[in-house]
């Protein structure tokens, strides 16, 4: 018998209930999720969806009420303090508010994980220099966090997280406090860390753009439930949940507007492999069918088009088939939707 594959991170029936005055909140309900080595796994949801609780459960900053968290097959919840500390060192974390030691210099911040692990001074000093180089802050070693910009602070936090040579990196809304430009550079850095060092990244965010840019897999949380998960491509092309559709802007973001979609319509998904405009105008020309665009939400990224377009469905069923077949020639994903 061959040995069964053991995923790097596996959540089984994870449940977290917070007591509140006069009742309780189900922050997480029966979450099952598998994260493989070298994934960049994005967990997305609106605020209050439970994503922060979820990522904090992974390294037991929060304790779930029920379920299992298996890291390389070992249950984090069953670990004693010592084993938990060892696991936490393999599983670094960065935060929205950076959480740097404000009274310590940049170099001392990055050195902290090495100090607590008992790494000899000379070796630690050498490693700090290397780590600051990786994040591009060699010249800020002596500065204090208060003298840095938000993006620089997050870079220090990343360098500090990498100090213990982790296999996994947890990102708790790591770019949510940053402007778009800085967000981009931090995402690039995370991507580089993933590719060059093979570090698995689990990130939570409320921004779809973060998922689109660096994740290969995504899970959608809504009201404490995992409503969808899979590869970004898959989930993006076949969005099933209403939370997913809202986040992917498939439907206008307000639910009231879903009702406004009174006409039967077709939904076309652009997954980055084709560009949008010529296809729609060629469709009109080639088939002689007027295309009425009801809504469109497309983004250009690295020269590719991502997004979706909702067009009015032609009245004639034959035309519908012709349009769908035509679009499918271009490997576009088309489906009928109604309001």
């Amino acid at each position: 018998m061959s040995e069964a594959h053991i995923p790097q991170i596996q959540l089984i029936g994870l449940t977290k209930i917070y007591p509140i005055p006069g009742g309780e909140v189900h922050a997480l309900q029966d979450i099952n999720l598998t994260i493989e080595k070298s994934d960049i796994y994005g967990i997305i949801g609106m605020s209050g969806a439970g994503k922060s609780t979820l990522i904090r459960c992974l390294n037991r900053l929060d304790t779930p009420n029920d379920g299992k968290i298996l890291i390389d097959g070992k249950d984090v919840l069953a670990m004693d303090k010592k084993a938990l500390r060892a696991t936490r060192r393999r599983m670094a974390m960065i935060f929205q508010q950076f959480n740097l030691l404000m009274q310590k210099s940049v170099a001392r911040n990055v050195r902290y994980p090495l100090e607590i692990a008992g790494v000899p001074d000379a070796e630690a000093d050498k490693r700090v220099v290397e780590l600051l180089k990786i994040v591009g802050l060699e010249n800020k070693a002596k500065a204090y966090p208060a003298q840095l910009s938000g993006g620089q602070k997050q870079r220090v936090a990343i360098a500090r997280a990498l100090a213990s040579n982790p296999e996994m990196l947890l990102c708790d809304e790591a770019t949510s406090a940053l402007d778009p430009m800085t967000t981009q550079s931090i995402l690039d850095l995370l991507k580089r860390i993933n590719t060059e060092m093979g570090i698995t990244i689990v990130l939570i965010t409320h921004e779809m753009s973060v998922i689109r840019q660096i994740c290969n897999k995504v899970a959608i949380l809504d009201g404490g439930k995992l409503v969808e998960s899979g590869t970004v491509d898959e989930v993006f092309k076949h969005t099933k949940s209403s939370a997913g559709k809202r986040l992917f802007d498939v439907l206008p973001s307000h639910t009231e507007k879903e009702d406004e979609l009174t006409h039967p319509a077709l939904r076309i998904v652009f997954d980055g492999e084709s560009s949008s405009q010529p296809i729609i105008s060629r469709l009109s020309k080639d088939l002689g069918i007027d295309v009425n665009i009801l809504s469109a939400n497309v983004h250009q990224l690295n020269g590719n088009t991502y997004g979706q377009m909702i067009i009015q469905r032609p009245e004639d069923p034959g035309d519908v088939k012709r349009v769908m077949d035509y679009l499918r020639q271009f490997k576009l994903n088309v489906e009928e939707v109604s309001g």
Partner: protein, 220 residues
């Protein structure tokens, strides 16, 4: 009374005051600092939660804090005699001073440590720190400016207590102002000893403020 008579009295009083203040503050911190740390870490949301212990400790500290120093001095008379060999004089009074001051110090330390951002502690936990590492390498280090500021306040408060040392036959500027000044209507001595106290308090406050500012890397 002219200056040549005042000066040696004031000098001796200053030395006695500083002697009592120094040793009382030192021992008050030896006891109060660990208790302050315990008050913070054993809370329900602390790093070593022990809510039962925390509330008992809190009650004991509040109880000790609410007894006026002069009453404490009288109540502790037999204990002071047993511990210090005598209950009267400048040196023995350090004992009741410490007992009165350490609960105050514990609360000062508690409030300084409380200011440390919880997120920083969580970050330290996420890096696999032990509780001891969090206390000594994170909590205390992050709170240094606030602890120093608190120490300046505690020391001036203890200095205020020493002024009542005369009630147990202790010396110092307070005793000078009360016993040899006010009680015998020697107003020159009363005022000059009081002014000397004001100056010492000022100096401690200024040093405390400057030190706090220069140690704080958060505001730059």
């Amino acid at each position: 009374m002219d200056w040549s008579q005042l000066a040696p009295l004031l000098w001796e009083g200053t030395l006695d005051t500083l002697y009592m203040t120094f040793w009382s503050s030192l021992f008050a911190y030896v006891i109060g600092l660990p208790l302050g740390i315990l008050l913070v870490v054993t809370r329900k949301d602390g790093i070593m939660p022990a809510p039962g212990f925390n509330s008992i400790l809190g009650v004991v500290i509040n109880f000790l804090r609410s007894i006026p120093f002069i009453i404490m001095l009288a109540m502790l008379f037999p204990v002071t005699r047993a511990v210090m060999g005598s209950a009267i004089g400048t040196r023995p009074i350090i004992f009741p001073l410490v007992i009165s001051a350490f609960p105050y110090v514990a609360r000062m330390v508690e409030s300084s440590l409380e200011e440390v951002d919880h997120g920083i502690i969580e970050a330290a936990q996420s890096m696999g720190s032990t509780n001891a590492q969090i206390i000594f390498k994170v909590l205390l280090v992050e709170a240094v400016p606030s602890l120093v500021n608190g120490a300046a306040i505690s020391i001036t408060t203890i200095l205020g207590y020493t002024a009542l040392a005369s009630a147990a036959g202790g010396g110092g500027l307070g005793a000078l102002a009360i016993v040899k000044g006010m009680n015998v209507r020697n107003y020159e001595l009363m005022y000059s000893a009081s002014i000397m106290l004001v100056i010492i308090v000022q100096v401690i406050t200024v040093i405390g403020t400057r030190l706090t500012r220069s140690l704080d890397h958060k505001r730059r």
